[in-house]
Symmetry: C5
Subunit: 308 residues, 5 copies
């Protein structure tokens, strides 16, 4: 499709990327029901690896099947579908060109615990290329003692991806030794910092969790107080995270977290949209519902972002 | 041989692989007494490395000889023979083309104990190619503190293998720091999770142990109970593991574990078959028997899977 | 522009570099209001990564925007602008050729604490080349238990940079296990030693903090006392650091540290200039001020170095 | 020379190796006084590195000279001479083609103690090639916590060596954390297991220590007892180790250990020969004697293996 | 110059090196006042990195300047000048061909303490080539828990250096966990062992400290006593170290250690020469003196080795 003014504007924020990478960013922005709006709703399905199959798929057993998810993304009109190597290999050659794919290049399982949070690299840029993906995905854990290794692995993968005309999507989830209490993981200052790190590492699209009202770093707290930065509503806090992402010049999308009720989800999404979020990434809340309910929810979410 | 409908169906589950890899998956499915059925019985002999030669081979001394095992696999009509580098180098040039070979690329000995479970990489994809193998084999230990290194090594080897038209067989054996009690290693939720991880890492064939009735992860236990997932019989549990393997769209085979009586083995195999297992991998239970008994047992096992 | 006698002299100190690298050193020396004087004022903006966005940019919110900083460097007439990958990618393709760029190849965030100080490598020489940079930047932490890894990473990057005609700028910040008290980090002997290490590692430009009057190493203290080396004034101490940098045959510039009042800054800069410093690198003290104040301050600083 | 029937038989055990590697195995089997017999006596001189020069060479001072050893090997009619890089570099260009050379690619000194036993890699396959060697040599320490690294290093070196037509000789010395008492290092089950590991890792020639009567692993002990495996005489135990080496289809040679009297050595060698050993590797017991005595001893040892 | 008989003899000890490497060994042997004698006096200046600039250069402030040292080496007629990357880059392009250069490829600073002694690799073989060097220099610390890493790094660098026609000079300084008392670092047995290790690792030139009368390893002590090896005088001990260096078939030179009086130095050098040392490497004792005194001292040292 021809690029809309908004898509052109967004692409202008990536002036140093080659045409291949810009094309793949555009492929995602121009796909599905939100095509051309500059907003994005992505279906991510890595929970089979991250939480195990029974917890992830038993609530809606057709979801055990890798075909199910890409079809759900197609039916709902998502901008892209993100999954680990195995799930993408199972569908890439069967649904070629029907949905922009994001190959998640690292993953972590829950069978081993008690170490510095760190994911294993489970795919390569060459895998993403041979599977026809639009982007690679990578998760960093700012705050982990292993963060530098993760940043460095991302650095190499992102350089290779960009050289091959792929886009780079970074999940930035603060956790680990540096985040000494659980509330810190979603604190608004930490969320903004995590988004900034992802941007500085060269992400085109950043995915963070909806920020909570807490402030974790004492030095940051002083600044929030001194300048009276509003953080009361989720929209306020999203606005801070978007500003922390190169003043809104990077695509920042938000996850929904644990499964919850439809109205709660839509209310949260309305706040995200009010705060300037570029979209949502919604896994369990969609694929654990029956297919038609999930399609309806995803479309309702898209409508919020489309301002309908 | 011409591909049967069932083999064609199975091959359709690997739509993203190149013709070379599909050919090698087909080579295994189309070899031996189970050719064309979509079932597989594999002879694996890595116990010389894993448990030492005297424990492995003294019960049937001809088994000290590397020629013995490939001949046994040929005589019984197995789909493939899997072994470490040394054992395959000893036979590959002598029995060329007589049996699909799987080069086990990592192994662990029992002379050193007390560390995070981790195998040494003892062969390469280039070794597999020069030896005329159909597939590489690799063992992961989900639950080990060293799991991420093992996943990453597998990732690189699997990518290289697929690029060279080889298939990838993954042994997934949960153990180590994360599996805090022995029963957890064969718990049904852990078995399903272990199979899922192998599939997500890009395995074409997954090998796990027969799952026991225990459930290890508390979060998984809630799901099994909430949805009343049947796990009473081995067939029930195998069904869960097969479902956890991309809803049955990956070839999942089961080991027999420690040596035991013939009738016990066949009863177990009947349950595996009832649960939808794609086959068995049977080492000590075959090569520690006298040759003719072993051939008979392997054929009886094949007959169970063939539905005879 | 044609090289002045002073620039020619400075370039003669790098007799083993290829013409590409000499050209890039000259590009920085010949750019902006200090062009041709042999002095340098650089704008560095890595604080979004190092301290987080809210602490860095909230005092002057336009600074959240990556465009802001390069424009500030242009408006003030700096010699170069230094930033991490994300910030440079956001501007390199938009302001091509308007400002010599230094890609900071490693960075450290403050979300994880308590480890040996070490930065993650967050960019590559190829990134610097594709972004049209004049130099790479790299931070070492002499005194850290991880120092050898950092030196080795720098070694490889510097070799690659020089082979590709780039200049090498090294930030040398003593800290970590070997610097057993906080005062040691800015002690004059440690500052001189840190500058020497950077020079020996092949830096063309070295950036250190203004040295304090303390002496940290007992063996060094004996030498300072025996030879009555003057260290009372900042100019004295700067003179020692410059001498420690190959007797003044390397470009040594000084940071300003924490934000402070304009007059304090200018007084400090006058001392730096009196001691033979080649210039200043000034981040927070410039971009946290409103734009026009920052331009004025940077120009005032340049005037001090220009001897106006 | 033309290959004897026995040499042809031995070469048939390596059906997967390329002609270059077979040629180099043949070069060793066809050299010296045992040429064509299928037996091997090798002179190894790595003690300068492993134990230090004064302990190694002072008993016979001409042995300080690297020329001394290759001349001794020539004079005695050994099959090959094995040494670390420095010793081989000192002679390879001076005695070209006069003696098959084995470059020992890893070594360990005794100046540092108390760590997991592990050798440093001190040479490369390319070194072996430029020095005209017939084989590489490599030591593994089964039982060491560092064993997997050693196996993996060997794997890579062996693959490279075979691709370049070299043979692979592995010294397999059990030691380290897993071998909890000193007697375990030479226990017969451990010796057999160590030989098996070396064979599985792809060794063409395996070198172990003469096994003692102890049994270390409880699981192995049960098997020795159950099957009444004879281990009373050294010949019995050697027979078990040879059987554990692919049923005698790998060349297994034995070291002599500490220096001792001539008659003791010859008695031990007679037992080795009775048990089916393929030969001896004899360092200190030869080069610490005066030249002519050493030549006589080595020839007497060869005569035992030749059945004279 | 035409090679003297002695230089030809020395070169014959390196029969496996390519003509490029032999040429570079010859370049050093044929340069300066000792040209053709087979003796060597080298000026090494790495103390700026190793001890810091103020301790190293303040006693003779012109020594802060990198030009100073190569000029001193030229004026005194040394065989070669050795320094880290930064110091050589500062002079190589300015004094091309005037002095054989040795690029010290690893260095250690004193700002961080308490770890296993280990140097950082601070230069590369390609650096040595582009700077026109005759040799690379590398320091090993036998006895350190990190020794194996250092040996392995040296191995790779030495292989690359030799392939490119460079010579290899190894500083062998025992220290670390294995040398449990300070006296052990200079014990005569340890010195001989350290020299042997350097030779076995492929060094063409070995540099050790003058050995003291102590014996550190109990097993070595027994041998020294049993064979009555003379160690009373420094000449005796030097003789042992030279013998331990392939029976004198490697170039072994000695450092002078801490700065001391002229007559003490010359007395020590006379003992070195009496013991068969090939020369001296003299840093602080030369460059911390005023220029003319240093030239005189270096020439006096050369005269001792020249037998004048």
């Amino acid at each position: 499709m021809e690029a809309t003014a908004r898509v052109k504007e967004i692409l202008s924020w990536y002036p140093s990327d080659n045409p291949g990478t810009k094309t793949n960013i555009a492929r995602m922005l121009n796909h599905g029901r939100l095509a051309g709006t500059g907003k994005m709703v992505i279906l991510p399905v890595d929970q089979g690896f991250e939480h195990g199959p029974v917890r992830s798929f038993q609530p809606n057993p057709p979801a055990y099947d890798p075909d199910y998810h890409i079809q759900l993304a197609i039916d709902a009109g998502c901008n892209a579908y993100a999954a680990p190597l195995g799930f993408l290999e199972a569908v890439a050659g069967k649904f070629p060109g029907q949905m922009p794919l994001i190959l998640k290049l690292n993953n972590s399982d829950t069978l081993s615990k008690g170490h510095s949070p760190a994911s294993a690299v489970t795919g390569s840029v060459r895998d993403a290329i041979r599977l026809g993906c639009a982007a690679i995905g990578y998760t960093i854990y700012p705050g982990s003692a292993a963060r530098n290794s993760m940043y460095q692995d991302l650095r190499g993968l992102a350089e290779e991806a960009k050289a091959h005309g792929l886009a780079v999507v970074v999940w930035s989830y603060p956790r680990g030794e540096g985040i000494t209490d659980k509330a810190g993981e979603t604190a608004v200052d930490v969320a903004g910092y995590a988004a900034q790190i992802a941007c500085q590492l060269g992400a085109h699209v950043v995915k963070v969790k909806p920020p909570a009202e807490a402030i974790f770093q004492p030095e940051a707290k002083k600044v929030f107080e001194k300048f009276n930065i509003p953080i009361k509503t989720l929209a306020d806090r999203v606005r801070h995270v978007v500003q922390s992402s190169f003043n809104g010049r990077r695509i920042v999308i938000f996850s929904g977290g644990e499964a919850k009720g439809t109205e709660d989800i839509l209310n949260e999404v309305r706040e995200l949209a009010r705060g300037g979020a570029f979209g949502s990434i919604m896994g369990r809340n969609s694929f654990q519902r029956p297919h038609d309910e999930a399609v309806k929810l995803l479309r309702d979410v898209m409508d919020v972002f489309a301002g309908k």
